[in-house]
C-alpha cells in the first residue's frame, strides 16, 4: 500500500509547483484572453490580435525564432564537435562553463555591449572602418531585423553547444572504428552513422533555441524600441508600459497565440526527443 502511494507523494511537490508556476498562469491567460476589460465574455481580443500589426508581430517573432534556431543550431553543432574532439581537457571545461554563462546573457547589458562594439560608433566598427571595411557602409545595421538576429547569436550558439554536447558523447568511437573496419570512408560514416544518430538531438536542440528566441524580450526591446513588431514586445507594451492603460486583455490574447505556437513546438520537441533517446540508450 505504502509502496503504491509513496511515488505519488514524492512527485507531489513537483506537480504542485508546476501547477502553480505553469498551470495557473495558463488558465489566467486563457480566461483573460476571452474577456473584455470590464469582465464580459468576448472574442474581440482574439480577432484584434489575428489582424494588422499584431499578426505581423507574431509573423516576425516566428521568423526571427526560426532564423535564430537554424543558424546557431548548425554553427553550435560544429563548434561543439570541435570542442568535444579536442585533446585539451581544460579547453573543454572552459567552453562548457563559458557556454553556461553566455547562454543566459541578454537584455539591456547585451544590447549596450553590441552598441559599444558594433554600433555605428563602436570600437570594432572603428577598427574595421580604419581598414575601409566599415560594415555600416555595406548595408549592415544593428537596429534592423537581421541586426537583432545577429545579436541573438551571442546567446543562442552557446545554448546549442550546451545542449548538443551530451549527444556528441553518445556517438561512440567503437561505431566509427567498426565502420572503418568495414571499409567505410569518412563521408560514408557521417552519411550512414553520424548524422542519422545525431539528427534527432540536433533538431531537438534547435526546437529549444526556437523557444528561447521566441520568448526573448529585453534585448530586442532595448535595441530597437519597437521599430520591429515582435509579439513579446507587444505584450510588454500592453501589460507593463506607460502608454496604453486599458488594453491588458489584448496582451493576454497575444500571449495565448504564443502559447499555441509554443505548444506546437513542444509537441514536435517531444516527438523528436522520443526518437533521439532510442539511440542514446
Amino acid at each position: 500500500m505504502f509502496r503504491a502511494i509513496f511515488p505519488g507523494i514524492a512527485v507531489a511537490p513537483f506537480l504542485i509547483y508546476t501547477f502553480l508556476g505553469l498551470g495557473v498562469p495558463v488558465i489566467a491567460v486563457v480566461i483573460n484572453a476571452f474577456h473584455s476589460q470590464t469582465g464580459k465574455f468576448t472574442t474581440a481580443n482574439i480577432k484584434l490580435v489575428t489582424t494588422g500589426i499584431y499578426r505581423l508581430g507574431m509573423y516576425n517573432s516566428i521568423k526571427l525564432s526560426l532564423i535564430t534556431a537554424i543558424i546557431p543550431g548548425v554553427l553550435g553543432v560544429f563548434l561543439a564537435y570541435a570542442i568535444h574532439t579536442s585533446r585539451s581537457s581544460w579547453l573543454r571545461r572552459l567552453t562548457t562553463t563559458a557556454s553556461g554563462v553566455l547562454a543566459n546573457f541578454g537584455g539591456v547589458n547585451l544590447t549596450f555591449m553590441f552598441i559599444a562594439t558594433l554600433g555605428s560608433t563602436g570600437v570594432l566598427t572603428a577598427w574595421l572602418a580604419a581598414v575601409h571595411l566599415n560594415p555600416w557602409n555595406h548595408g549592415f545595421s544593428l537596429y534592423s531585423f537581421y541586426g537583432v538576429a545577429f545579436v541573438y547569436l551571442y546567446f543562442q550558439i552557446p545554448l546549442m553547444v550546451l545542449v548538443i554536447t551530451p549527444a556528441l558523447g553518445g556517438l561512440r568511437p567503437a561505431w566509427r572504428e567498426a565502420a572503418q573496419n568495414m571499409g567505410a570512408s569518412n563521408w560514408r560514416y557521417w552519411r550512414y552513422v553520424g548524422v542519422p544518430v545525431l539528427l534527432p538531438s540536433v533538431l531537438g536542440g534547435m526546437l529549444l533555441l526556437f523557444g528561447s528566441s521566441f520568448a526573448a524580450y529585453a534585448t530586442a526591446q532595448s535595441l530597437t524600441t519597437g521599430i520591429i513588431a515582435l509579439a513579446p514586445i507587444q505584450i510588454g507594451n500592453l501589460l507593463d508600459g506607460n502608454v496604453i492603460s486599458n488594453e491588458v486583455n489584448v496582451g493576454f490574447a497575444i500571449a495565448l497565440g504564443m502559447l499555441v505556437v509554443l505548444t506546437v513546438t513542444m509537441v514536435c520537441y517531444g516527438l523528436v526527443r522520443r526518437r533521439a533517446s532510442k539511440w542514446l540508450r
Binding site: S120, S144, F145, G226, N242
Partner: protein
C-alpha cells in the same frame, strides 16, 4: 479670482464645521488623534483632530511611508525623499524605483492589505484615471488645492497633477551643430552626423509618445492627428539620422546618440550632469507639455503619512524642490504670482521660444495617438 477664492474660503469653513460636527458625533471618547480614521480624511482643517499638527503627529506614529517607481534622479525625487525623511523622521521604503505606471497601478491591487503596499503613486494621468475607475484611489485635497489649475486635477480629489515639462531637444554641442527645431532635423542628411534618439519606444514610454506628438505638431499635424509625427521619424530613418535604440546618458557618452528627444527636466537631471556640453531646449516649432499625477491609495497601509507626504509635495518647499529638478511644479503660476518660486532655479528652466504656444494633450488624445502610433510605428519607421 477673488470671488473664486472667497467661495473657496467659505467652502473650506463649511467643511471645517461639518467635519468638526462629524468628529463630535462619532467621538464619545475624548477627542484626540487616535479617534481619527485618516484613510477617510479628505482634507485638513485649520484646527482640531484633523489639523496639520494632528496629521504630523499621526504620521510620526505610523513612522513609515511606502513609495513606488520614484527614481532618485527623476525630477529631483532624491532631494524630496531625503527632505521629507529629514523633516519628519519618517522612514521611506522606495520600491521598484525604475518601475512603470502600469506596475504602480498593478501593485495597488496585487499588494492590497500588505504593510508593504504602496501608499502613494506618481503616474501618467491616463493611469490615474484607470486606477480611479477601478476604485483604488482615496479622495484627498491638499491645503493648497485651489492653487492647482482646475484642468490639472480630478474635481473629487482622487488624483491631482504634480509636475511636468515640455518635450525638448537635448544635444551634444561638442559633437554636432545643434538643431533648434523639428524642421531642421527633418531636413538634415546623414552627412550632418545627427544621431537622433528617443528615450524609449513610443509604445512603451509616455515621454517617447509625447516626442512623436510634438513632431506631429511641427509637421502639420495636431494633438488629434499624430500621423505626421510617425512620418517625421520614418523620414529620419530613411535619411539615416534616427538611431532607434534606447537613448540615455550611456548612449550619449558613448556617441551612439548625440541628439535626444525627451522631457526637458529628465534630460536636465538625467544627462546634463554627466556631460558639460549637453544643451537642452524647447524646439521652436512645437511646445508640447504634459504633467504627471499624484494619487493616494484607498487602502494605503500608512494613511496619515500618505497625506502628509502630499502636503509636503504641495508645500512651497516641495514645489520648489521639483523646480530645482528643472521640472515645472503644478502650482508654479500661483507661486510666481506670489513671489514664492525660487528665482535661481526658475531661471534655469529652458525657456519657451518666442511665438510658441504650449499645447497640452488630453488623456483621450494621448490614447488615440497611442493607437495610431502602435499601428504604424513598426511598419513605417522600421521595416516591419
Amino acid at each position: 479670482m477673488t470671488f473664486k477664492r472667497k467661495i473657496g474660503a467659505t467652502l473650506a469653513a463649511g467643511a471645517t464645521m461639518a467635519s468638526l460636527t462629524l468628529v463630535s458625533i462619532s467621538g464619545s471618547a475624548p477627542a484626540g488623534a487616535a479617534t481619527v480614521n485618516w484613510s477617510k480624511v479628505t482634507h485638513l482643517t485649520k484646527s482640531g483632530p484633523t489639523s496639520l499638527a494632528a496629521l504630523v503627529k499621526a504620521a510620526k506614529k505610523e513612522g513609515k511611508l511606502n513609495v513606488i517607481a520614484l527614481p532618485r534622479n527623476w525630477a529631483n525625487y532624491g532631494a524630496l525623499l531625503d527632505g521629507f525623511h529629514k523633516k519628519y523622521g519618517i522612514k521611506i521604503t522606495s520600491a521598484n524605483p525604475d518601475g512603470s505606471s502600469a506596475q504602480e497601478v498593478a501593485a495597488l491591487t496585487a499588494d492590497r492589505g500588505r504593510s508593504s503596499a504602496p501608499d502613494v503613486i506618481d503616474v501618467g494621468t491616463s493611469y490615474a484615471l484607470t486606477a480611479q475607475q477601478q476604485g483604488l484611489l482615496a479622495s484627498y485635497k491638499v491645503q493648497t488645492w485651489n492653487e492647482i489649475p482646475a484642468s490639472l486635477k480630478d474635481a473629487g480629489g482622487q488624483w491631482f497633477d504634480d509636475y511636468g515639462g515640455f518635450v525638448a531637444i537635448g544635444c551634444n554641442t561638442a559633437a554636432v551643430t545643434c538643431p533648434t527645431s523639428f524642421q531642421q532635423m527633418l531636413a538634415a542628411k546623414a552627412s550632418s552626423n545627427y544621431k537622433i534618439g528617443l528615450n524609449n519606444s513610443p509604445l512603451q514610454s509616455n515621454s517617447a509618445l509625447a516626442g512623436v506628438q510634438a513632431a506631429a505638431l511641427a509637421n502639420g499635424g495636431s494633438l488629434d492627428n499624430v500621423k505626421p509625427g510617425v512620418d517625421f521619424f520614418a523620414t529620419l530613418a530613411k535619411n539615416g539620422t534616427f538611431v532607434p535604440t534606447i537613448a540615455n546618458v550611456t548612449t550619449v557618452e558613448n556617441g551612439a546618440t548625440n541628439i535626444v528627444i525627451w522631457w526637458d527636466y529628465l534630460q536636465a537631471t538625467g544627462i546634463s550632469p554627466s556631460l558639460g556640453s549637453w544643451k537642452v531646449f524647447v524646439p521652436s516649432d512645437a511646445a508640447l507639455g504634459e504633467y504627471y499625477s499624484q494619487a493616494i491609495s484607498k487602502t494605503a497601509p500608512h494613511p496619515a503619512t500618505a497625506r502628509l507626504w502630499e502636503e509636503y509635495l504641495y508645500s512651497v518647499t516641495g514645489q520648489n524642490l521639483w523646480l530645482q529638478g528643472e521640472a515645472r511644479p503644478v502650482e508654479l503660476a500661483y507661486m510666481q504670482a506670489h513671489n514664492q518660486a525660487n528665482k535661481a532655479w526658475l531661471a534655469k528652466l529652458p525657456s519657451l521660444p518666442a511665438g510658441t504656444t504650449p499645447q497640452y494633450p488630453s488623456t483621450a488624445q494621448i490614447a488615440a495617438a497611442a493607437t495610431v502610433v502602435g499601428n504604424n510605428w513598426a511598419t513605417e519607421v522600421g521595416a516591419g
